[in-house]
């Protein structure tokens, strides 16, 4: 187990290193010099040069890459060119919106998808199954930001149950949670559709296995066999998708935040891009990639603990 964990940890470190290099290079080749952007069109060349020195932009590329990487490792994400505040502080503030939103959506999608998938699998080929499949087809095809607009139209503008956007802050927890509800539903729906399909097909596969037949032969009803033996085994592929969905939710949150004017990481990225605040862009993207790679690593580890066969598979 330890050997397996070490091997996966090494590959995690390599992935992160390569990812950081790619992000740095992409941002580096971007046209536009942050210093001249900050000072405006009429800035004197020597003022621009002085600012470049102050920001460390005149150093060779490899030195800046190493400085940035070293900083990230110690939790120092650099200083925003525009606001002159530490990027870490800006991220910490925004993540209190984006992370709860992604988790809220993940929870909702699981709550909708698992019962729907189990229901469909238990009624395979019947009307209920066809209904769930039809609903998932729609859920997968619907653009989540459009669904978000429809939710606003119905629940905020017509029924006035929720506000159409904005975030009151966590000082009022219930109000904050309420303002994240429509965004979370919009994010959750397409993911729930995918998850319900995976749950359904996984459970159907498991229900045709020999050990289910054995359980039935021993006198368990179809329902008992499903709940006691089928479900646990069928959850393994569902967990994989759940791990993968985290990255979709984080990315999806970026666009959904635009619809609801939520001050999350997504809006921070867009603001920083328009202001050419590249250090913020680099750091936030790197953080998102780190979150995805780390979640995938943890999912892998959870499997290896649950299923010893997987430790020797690779």
């Amino acid at each position: 187990m330890l050997g397996y964990a070490l091997k996966r940890l090494t590959s995690l470190a390599v992935s992160l290193l390569v990812a950081s290099l790619v992000i740095f290079l992409v941002v580096e080749v971007a046209p536009g010099d942050p210093a001249s952007y900050m000072l405006g069109m009429n800035a004197q060349p020597d003022t621009v040069a002085a600012l470049r020195t102050e920001l460390g932009l005149d150093l060779p590329k490899w030195q800046r890459y190493l400085a940035w990487l070293g900083g990230m490792l110690t939790g120092d994400f650099g200083t925003s060119y525009t606001y002159r505040t530490p990027v870490a502080e800006m991220v910490a503030e925004r993540i209190t919106v984006s992370l709860p939103l992604a988790l809220y959506a993940l929870g909702l999608s699981t709550l909708i998808a698992l019962p729907a998938g189990i229901y469909a699998a238990a009624r395979r080929g019947k009307a209920g199954d066809a209904g769930v499949i039809g609903a998932t087809q729609l859920g997968i095809a619907i653009p989540n930001f459009w669904f978000a607009m429809l939710l606003v139209l119905l629940f905020a503008l017509k029924l006035r149950w929720f506000s159409a956007g904005g975030f009151p802050g966590w000082e009022q927890p219930l109000l904050a949670l309420k303002s994240l509800t429509l965004p979370a539903v919009a994010l959750a729906l397409p993911q729930a559709a995918i998850l319900a399909r995976v749950m359904r097909s996984s459970l159907i596969d498991i229900l045709s296995e020999d050990f289910i037949r054995t359980a039935r032969a021993k006198g368990l009803s179809r329902r008992q066999a499903l709940w006691r033996h089928g479900l646990r085994n069928a959850l393994i592929p569902v967990l994989t998708i759940l791990g993968l969905q985290f990255s979709f939710l984080l990315a999806g949150a970026i666009i959904i935040e635009q619809v609801f004017f939520l001050p999350g990481l997504g809006r921070l990225i867009f603001q920083s891009i328009t202001q050419r605040d590249l250090i913020v862009v680099e750091s936030v993207v790197m953080l998102l990639v780190f979150a995805v790679i780390a979640v995938n690593f943890l999912t892998d580890m959870a499997y290896a603990i649950a299923d010893p066969r997987l430790r020797h598979a690779r």
Binding site: S11, P31, L138, A141, F248, I254
Partner: protein, 271 residues
């Protein structure tokens, strides 16, 4: 044929024809602004109503279809054009350095939240249809490379490939003449699915202003324009969204139907 396959094919055909027709004719001029006629609900004169600048929504949807379909199609082409040869080459020398490189690069691309990188690329290299294609296309490369490699590997162990090797054919020729034709079905099905994902991605990018730029109409930007007007005239938000939904739904149904029709062995793995 299953009814869902027919429905999928019909939806896809409708939007493709609408896009093609828009090159020759649209009911209204998509660049003519007529403020006096703005935000009109659907009527006989304007079947799908008018937008905030008084432009005919049906014409906008038709021309928007052109952008969506073109961006997604070229992005899929890019992914297939690079991914399939890489996958074939990796499978031909399984365990070789190229195989290892392709697989590791795949793992890496999969680790990136695709939308975040798409946003990064379009934001840094400037918004526009071409960069949107690039951003979406990059993520199609590993999808096709992985699929091709996996399927090709199983063929390399088959007798007819062995026969071709005995006959003196080299790996590139075998890959092209014997393996690629056998992958066609699989690639068509995956192509349809990536096509529909591409349309969703393009809509998302143009919604946040990083896709095709004005005056080129696009469904995503129509939705962005509609956002502040949704309470005054709901149809401006509903129409472009429905267009995206129906196109993606059509392609998904088509892909699922084709998979079942072309390769019955794949049926149990649908998810």
């Amino acid at each position: 044929m299953k009814p869902t396959l027919i429905l999928g094919a019909l939806l896809t055909l409708t939007f493709t024809l609408a896009a093609l027709l828009s090159f020759l004719w649209t009911p209204g001029d998509v660049e003519a602004v007529n403020i006096a006629a703005r935000l009109q609900p659907p009527s006989v004169a304007h079947w799908l109503g008018t937008d905030h600048l008084g432009r005919d929504m049906l014409s906008m949807v038709m021309t928007g279809a052109r952008t969506s379909l073109a961006v997604a199609l070229v992005a899929v082409g890019l992914g297939m054009g690079l991914g399939v040869p890489l996958g074939l080459a990796a499978a031909a020398r399984q365990g070789g350095w190229l195989d290892e490189l392709v697989m590791r690069a795949n793992d890496l691309i999969f680790a990136f939240p695709s939308l975040v990188i798409a946003i990064l690329i379009t934001a840094i290299f400037g918004p526009g249809a071409l960069n949107a294609i690039l951003a979406i296309g990059i993520f199609n490369i590993p999808v096709f490379a992985r699929l091709t490699r996996g399927a090709a590997l199983s063929f390399w162990r088959r007798e007819f490939i062995l026969a071709a090797r005995v006959a003196g054919k080299g790996a590139p020729r075998i890959s092209l003449e014997h393996i690629l034709p056998n992958l066609a079905n699989l690639l068509i099905v995956q192509g349809t699915i990536q096509f529909s994902l591409g349309i969703l991605a393009e809509a998302g990018l143009s919604y946040v202003g990083l896709g095709a730029q004005p005056p080129v109409p696009s469904w995503g930007r129509m939705l962005a324009d509609a956002q502040t007007m949704v309470s005054l005239a709901p149809h401006v938000a509903i129409v472009p969204g429905l267009a995206i939904l129906l196109t993606v739904l059509g392609l998904n149904l088509l892909g699922d139907g084709l998979r079942d029709a072309l390769d019955p062995r794949l049926r149990p793995s649908r998810a």
